[in-house]
């Protein structure tokens, strides 16, 4: 099933927002095909009528009151920003 070519790797890289140099696409396609080829053995397992796992241990998610219990930490939030101005994260100009 898995037959990842150069173009597919380029597409995945774009979706993952990782720049990959052209000459690295081909070797990466080989690596990904190896790994995905190996995981395809899961096809042997009969999973008809099996529900996909949704909770690792039998624990119910808790409910809590819908109220504000944190906040007012703009300075802390921006403290590690590579670039911040006027209380905001700063990024390169976005032109569409």
């Amino acid at each position: 099933m898995s037959n990842i070519d150069k173009a597919t790797v380029a597409k995945i890289a774009r979706l993952a927002r990782i720049k990959i140099e052209d000459e690295k696409l081909e070797p990466l396609a080989g690596e990904l095909n190896n790994i995905l080829g190996w995981v395809e053995q899961l096809g042997e397992v009969n999973t008809d009528d099996i529900q996909p796992m949704s909770s690792v241990v039998d624990a119910k998610l808790r409910w809590r009151q819908d109220e504000v219990n944190d906040g007012d930490k703009a300075d802390s939030v921006l403290k590690n920003a590579p670039d911040a101005e006027y209380g905001f994260f700063a990024v390169p100009k976005v032109i569409e």
Partner: protein
């Protein structure tokens, strides 16, 4: 007093309580040991000032009669636990310069109990690796060397710094994290005791996320008792983590009764791998004999979906990682690269290209692919179904047995570069640890012997969900029977 760094946590605790030792003395000895262990590359950030301050506070606490198990005990912290104002990068370049404004719950619990932080420990980048070779800060060396040899071995991974610091007498204990075996496999490679509790036992708040449905904190120590003491300190419900479970934390040390008479120990037949080294089989067999000698009943069990655990893991974990690691975009923290005349997307792509290492990129790519339109059902949904079957296997087995005994890893520590070019060979290291991770079960690795070259080997004990006490109890019996007293030579000091 003799070398204070050789003390176990329980021994130091008792000396501290009697007033025969101060945390300041103990901490100073460890700060010196940390400096002397630079060649292991276990620490990527040292915090001696914080350590001494905490040591003095611990001494005051002890004087006031307010001591807990970890009070005054110097420990190392894996680099993926957020420590306020201190280097926290999960050993990745993408978090360059990141100093959290908050503290992880696990480390906060240690500090609340009076523990002392020696520094931050090396690890595989984002915990993705089994040899600590993927760290941005370079590999960690295993304190153990083969008999009569000067060549270096990997410490295992991803908690390579944690195990090397503890095995190398540069920490009395260390925090670690386990996603598919990152506590147990390195513990086996270094003759240390590692325990990963049940998923939900420790809060994940402030832990850099890799695969959220698998990640769980745990500890590395030099023996089982120390593991019980330290694990108890970091365990417990936390409203800040929605998957943390609100059940009482038992007194783990009290579980170490040494009495496993009448207990049923399961031996999963699927773990007899073709081509597994004879030494590993022999060690496992020894473990079985130890169980019988201690009065336990050994029962053959089946975990039929075992062979599908690794492929399942290598869909689920990268899928969750690709989602978790999407947050590293150069906007809010860490590394940023804006190419000349580049826009926002160029910045994302360039930042992530030079911020992530090869293995992390590989896993993000796989995760992105298996979650992408048209492939989600075939890969991700299928894997989550097989994961349910793996979990069901364990549930069925635990109707018949109290604990499960297996080898921890299919080999002893290996040489640098031996597997780093072959992702699949590297992944196979976790063949015995991944199934329990997928099922969220508690597990430990206990030092149980040496291979023909004099390198440590471990046995793995798995328990029912929330039954860390049985895991600890059985581990303690193995420790007693194995009488593992070997130590690495202190070649790095």
């Amino acid at each position: 007093m003799s070398d204070l760094t050789k003390l176990k946590i329980a021994e130091a605790r008792d000396l501290l309580a009697k007033g025969d030792l101060s945390s300041r003395e103990l901490t100073e000895a460890h700060i010196a040991a940390v400096d002397a262990a630079d060649s292991l590359n276990a620490y990527i950030e040292k915090t001696p000032e914080i350590a001494l301050e905490q040591a003095d506070a611990a001494d005051a606490k002890i004087k006031a009669g307010d001591a807990k198990g970890m009070t005054g005990i110097p420990v190392g912290i894996k680099d993926l636990f957020a420590t306020k104002g201190v280097h926290t990068q999960a050993c990745s370049r993408i978090l360059d310069g990141f100093k959290p404004e908050y503290e992880s719950t696990v480390t906060q619990k240690l500090w609340d109990d009076g523990a002392v932080m020696l520094g931050k420990l090396n690890m595989d980048e984002f915990a993705m690796g089994s040899s600590n070779e993927t760290s941005f800060y370079g590999p960690v060396k295993n304190p153990w060397r083969a008999e009569g040899s000067n060549s270096d071995f990997v410490p295992g991974g991803s908690s390579g710094g944690s195990v090397a610091s503890v095995a190398g007498y540069a920490a009395m204990g260390a925090t670690a994290s386990d996603t598919g075996g990152s506590i147990r496999q390195p513990a086996a490679f270094t003759g240390t005791f590692g325990i990963k509790p049940t998923y939900g036992r420790c809060s994940r708040y402030g832990m850099v996320a890799f695969a959220s449905s698998l990640d769980q904190a745990g500890t590395i120590t030099r023996d089982v008792r120390d593991g019980a003491i330290m694990l108890e300190s970091i365990s417990g419900f936390d409203p800040k983590d929605s998957t943390s479970v609100d059940i009482p934390v038992p007194n783990f040390e009290a579980a170490l009764t040494g009495d496993i008479r009448g207990m049923k120990i399961g031996i999963p037949q699927e773990y007899h791998l073709a081509g597994m080294p004879g030494e590993i089989e022999a060690l496992w067999h020894k473990g079985i004999e130890w169980m019988k000698a201690a009065g336990a009943e050994v029962v053959d069990i089946n975990l039929p979906h075992t062979k599908y655990a690794l492929p399942t893991y290598y869909i689920v974990a990268p899928a969750e990682a690709s989602s978790n690691l999407a947050r590293y975009d150069g906007v809010r923290y860490g590394h940023r690269n804006v190419p000349d005349n580049g826009g926002l997307v160029d910045m994302y792509e360039a930042t992530r290209a030079d911020g992530f290492g090869d293995e992390v990129k590989r896993r993000i790519m796989i995760g992105t692919y298996v979650l992408s339109a048209g492939y989600y059902d075939a890969y991700y949904l299928k894997a989550q179904k097989v994961r349910q079957l793996i979990s069901d296997d364990f549930k069925r087995a635990f109707e018949k047995v109290d604990a499960i005994l297996t080898p921890t890893a299919p080999s002893a520590a290996f040489a640098f570069g031996e597997k780093s070019d072959d992702p699949l060979a590297m992944y196979l290291n976790d063949v015995f640890t991944v199934p329990a991770s997928l099922a969220g079960l508690p597990g430990s690795s206990v030092p149980a012997g040496l291979d023909a070259n004099g390198l440590p080997l471990g046995l793995q004990v798995l328990g029912k969900a929330w039954d860390e006490e049985t895991v600890l109890k059985v581990s303690g019996v193995i420790e007693q029977a194995a009488a593992f007293t070997s130590q690495p030579e202190l070649w790095w000091r």
